[in-house]
């Protein structure tokens, strides 16, 4: 009798990149909502509906003395007696930090799951990177890659991940600038103090964040029966259940309570929380994350539900 779950090998980064591109191709470009970053100085592609540094024409306005002569739009000025200056729309890019957990517990995959959690997390991360970079956002990965505003950010991220040490613990968000977005993809099983140690301080500094919790269906439904020895892939700790089916109900209750607690805490801090199971398609999580990032307001979801 084969066991239900197994630990998989580490996913090849470039392989994950290819899959991520397939997923990303299913979604439109994502302009991260950047209400909060109105005053960020770094140029980008977000039209800010005000004049500033940018490439798109915004308005003509009369020349004010003291302005650089080079800014005069001579073609327009030639039409009447006034001098005009061509204003451009202020465009600003956004920095989004992506992070995926790669700890041993993420390597778990049960029979009914499509892929391991780690593989799914990587795919989600790279797909997000692809979508965001397509829109001109700056994409970075804490501890792995500084933010870049390049069209091939996903590829560079995959390359960086391939060379970087395995990310096991939650990242240090202290280095991240205030007006950035953070997307954390993990199973959040490692420690219960995630909220206090990692997310809490970051949110207090004003960092917006999105949590994608990836779980295996076997972890949620607990299909084990009979005499079963459970082993923690990270600590190697063992636990024997005489008749596993007897604890299934309790376990499910505890599992859901934990997720609920995590979700509640995250939302209270203003971050979004998304639970994803590996027996679902990656595109589902991607679409949901896309929605959160592009600021589809919670009100709309409420109207739908």
């Amino acid at each position: 009798m084969a066991p239900i779950g197994q630990l998989t090998q580490q996913t090849a980064r470039l392989d994950a990149l290819a899959r991520a591109r397939q997923r990303a191709a299913l979604l439109p470009d994502c302009l991260a909502e950047a209400r909060r970053v109105a005053n960020t100085v770094i140029a980008g592609w977000h039209g800010r509906r005000k004049r500033g540094i940018g490439e798109t024409f915004w308005q003509f306005r009369p020349y004010v003395d003291g302005e650089s002569l080079s800014r005069i739009d001579w073609r327009r000025s030639a039409r009447d007696d006034n001098l005009y200056v061509r204003d451009r729309e202020w465009e600003a890019a956004h920095t989004i930090w992506l992070w995926a957990d790669q700890s041993p517990s993420m390597l778990y995959k049960s029979d009914v799951a499509l892929v391991s959690k780690e593989s799914r997390a990587l795919v989600l991360m790279l797909a997000l990177a692809e979508i965001l970079s397509r829109s001109g956002e700056r994409v970075g990965c804490p501890g792995v890659m500084e933010p870049v505003a390049s069209r091939n950010a996903a590829e560079r991220l995959a390359l960086a991940l391939a060379h970087a040490p395995i990310q096991t613990a939650l990242p240090d968000l202290g280095q991240i600038g205030r007006m950035s977005d953070v997307i954390l993809i993990s199973d959040f099983l490692d420690a219960d103090d995630t909220l206090e140690t990692c997310i809490g301080p970051a949110s207090r500094r004003g960092i917006r964040g999105h949590i994608i919790e990836v779980s295996d269906p076997a972890e949620e439904t607990f299909p084990y029966t009979g005499r079963t020895e459970f082993r923690d892939p990270e600590t190697g700790q063992k636990l024997i259940a005489g008749r596993a089916e007897t604890v299934a109900a309790d376990y499910r209750k505890a599992w859901l309570a934990r997720r609920e607690a995590l979700g509640q805490g995250v939302r209270r801090m203003g971050w979004s929380f998304l639970a994803h199971r590996t027996d679902r398609l990656a595109s589902e999580a991607l679409a949901a994350a896309h929605g959160h990032l592009s600021g589809i307001p919670a009100a709309k979801k409420a109207a739908l539900s």
């Binding site: 009798m1 066991p3 239900i4 099983l189 299909p223 009979g226 005499r227 923690d232 005489g242 376990y251």
Partner: protein, 937 residues
Amino acid sequence: MIAGIPLAFGAPAILFGLLALPVIWWLLRLTPPRPQAEPFAPLAILARVLKAEETPSRSPWWLTLLRLLIAGLVILALAEPVLNPRDRALSSNGPLALVIDNGWATAPDWQARTEAAETLIAEAEDLDIPVSIVFTANRRHDATPTSFERARDQLRAAKPQPLRPERSASVTALIAALGQTRPGTIAYISDGIDTPDATDAFSRLSALEASAIRIIGADDTNALALTGADNGAEELSVTASRLNSTDAASYGLTASDGKGREIAAGEIRFDTGEAEATGTISTPFEIRNDIARLDVTGIDTAGSVRLLDDSFRRRRVALISGEARDIAQPLLSPLYYINRALSPFADLIEADSEEMSVSIPKLLEQSPAVVVMSDIGTLPEDVSQSLNEWIERGGTLIRFAGPRLAAAPGNDELLPVLLRKGERELGGALSWIEPQPLANYPATGPFAGLPTPRDITVRRQVLAEPSADLAARTWASLADGTPLVTAADRGAGRIVLFHVTAEASWSNLPISGHFVDMLRRVVQLSRAVSGGGEAGSGILPPWRLLDANGALLPASGDAKPLDLTDRTAVVQAGPDNPPGLYGGEDGFVALNLFSADETLAPIAIPEFEAPVTRSAITGDSTVDFRPWLFAAALFALLVDTLIVLLLNGAFRRKTFKQASAAAPALFIVGLSLAMFTAPGTVRAQDAQPGDVDLLESLDRTRLAYVITGDEEADRTSQAGLDSLSNYLFSRTALEPGTAIGVDLETAPLSLYPLIYWPMSEDADTPSPEAISRLDAYMKNGGSVLFDTRDRIVDLGGGSSALTVRLQQILAGLDIPPLEPVPADHVLTKSFFLLDTFPGRYSDGPLWVEATPETNDPAERPARTGDGVSSILITGNDMAAAWALDDQGFPMFSTIPADPWQREYAYRAGVNIVMYMLTGNYKADQVHIPALLERLGQ
């Protein structure tokens, strides 16, 4: 052996192993099953939940119990428990007297019987007592108490005999051999069948005052004996008797011929509680005459075999009458009574020609055993000669008197005695003598033993000239001493003369049942002409003898010749004359173990003073528990495996995932179940090429035409018949399929009700085989519509090439007389009312089989047409009139061009098809009003 229960252990020491069970219990309780290892990331959550649950480290008590049960079963099985262990209760007070039946019924299980005897001898060997052994069916007995080695040799030398046991004689021999010694144990291995001397034998055995009596195998025999075979008129009936009559049973019968080939089979069925039954073998007379031996399938004993000889065969009897048979008044026909008397037990052939010089040689060619001539005075010289030769070869000629014989010269050599010319009338107006009854039969004649009938009177007879040997030749005479039946042997044959007629005009003998008996005796005396030899009488040497297993072996040993000189004595099979065939290859007499009235009865064993132990022949009742216990242990082991699988969740997991780990286990279980189920029936593959076409033609009625080879004609036929089929489809209840062309040489014709055959000059002449096929088709009910397509008017005088061709074809067919369709023929009424049958031409007639004229045509609107005319001939080119092209336009114009003529051509076609399909039903339809009137409606 445990008191009260007939249970014993072969190796009781192993039972101490049961003491180990508590240890096994303790060990089993300690060892939990190995857990299933699973990686599980959210272990922290699980750990919180799992704290409350106690992990069982021990298997459940009932599982342990099951395993203990397995261990216990294995220990018990190793201890070799046996139910009904064989008794070892020989008395050591004196020698063992072993009486063994080795009659015919012991053959099938002789091996088991000798084994039972061996066991007894072995026990005697253990006790070191002498053994006196006697076989009841043997002729010579050597019952001297001897050592067990000699007894064993005697036992090995003994064989079952194809005889009844002679118990009294063997007990006598035993008593004589024992002398004054009192036997310790008398063991009797019986075949269970009663014999007349059994009671006597038992009483004398009981007088020996043995210490113990053992009766072995008296109760469970299934002996079966064939006691008779009777060759009836229609079938061969076989009677059988069986010993064990509790259940209904059915046995197969096989009949084989003289060379041992199986030629017939039958069945004999015993009802519940019936010890006797009669089975039948129904085969033609010729085959039945070849039967030389009957066997019961699956039982090979001398009693279940019935040997048959010549006397068993049905005789072939030729009947010749002097006068033409008058069918209208059969009761006056002389052959009528003979026919009725002989037909139950003889095969009758009659002359088919009035001319005796033709018919008698023809009858003699069929080599009858008996020729019956009724009132024939003189025969042609050559016929008389051939009859004489036939009698010399062994034929029996039975003659009946009559006016012609009375008028013939009395020195006919085909008469047993010289006859006076003229007949003698008794009790007439000019006679003083009363009609005479029969006298008692002579004691030596063939009629000896028949009761003398008192109610038969003879009014007329022919008289024999007195001679010295007249009395010797007389088989029956009247009360006044004049002979009624005389006979004389000629060579191997015999001439028998009844001095009265074969019908009731001279005496009332032919209408009495006595006549049947007399004729039967005479016919039984006759023998097959081909077989010469001395069979049936005299002293016959043994030729082939049955052994106990029912096999016919060349005679050997001490069989004595069979003495049949004394006809009154009933010959019984016995030690001197074992059952078998006596005589020689040319002729033989079968001697069977059982005669017709014998039955099998179970042997009655009286009470003995000594304790009697009864048992079956072998240790059949000994039940060895070992395999059962091992099987139970194995089953429990399987159950245990399933339970362990179940505990480990092998089956519950199935609800979670589709590809279950239990699937292979289920597959194995299913496979083992499949191995236990009986193999499915295998159907013979009887499909043959062409079946699809056949079925297609069978599903739908189809009109057919002959493929002539002339393409134009074939196309016209196809189009014409298709159009006619459409017309039928739209107008009638018949929904024919598309027309089909048949090749007369190969195609199966019987599928089609009507075949249209247009004549064509370009066509090939059909081969004789094709014509012969067509002939068979027509004789079997098919009809052919010939169409010369040349406007013939007169069939015979036709001169066109097509008509000539038709004549060529018809020359090869068996054609009845033809006539143009008369006005009252069914064809004119079968669907439409028609008076002509036009085609493309309108004036040619349609020829059909001539129907016989009825006496009063006025009364019947249509002729009775039993059967349908198998041939129709027209010259009107019907297919051309029917044929429509693809657009539905006529392909040919009618001559003259009259649209109504085409319509009538269709109607003619419909009438023809309806006539073919419905036949005389349509003819009978016209009587419906009359029938209804007769029914009173």
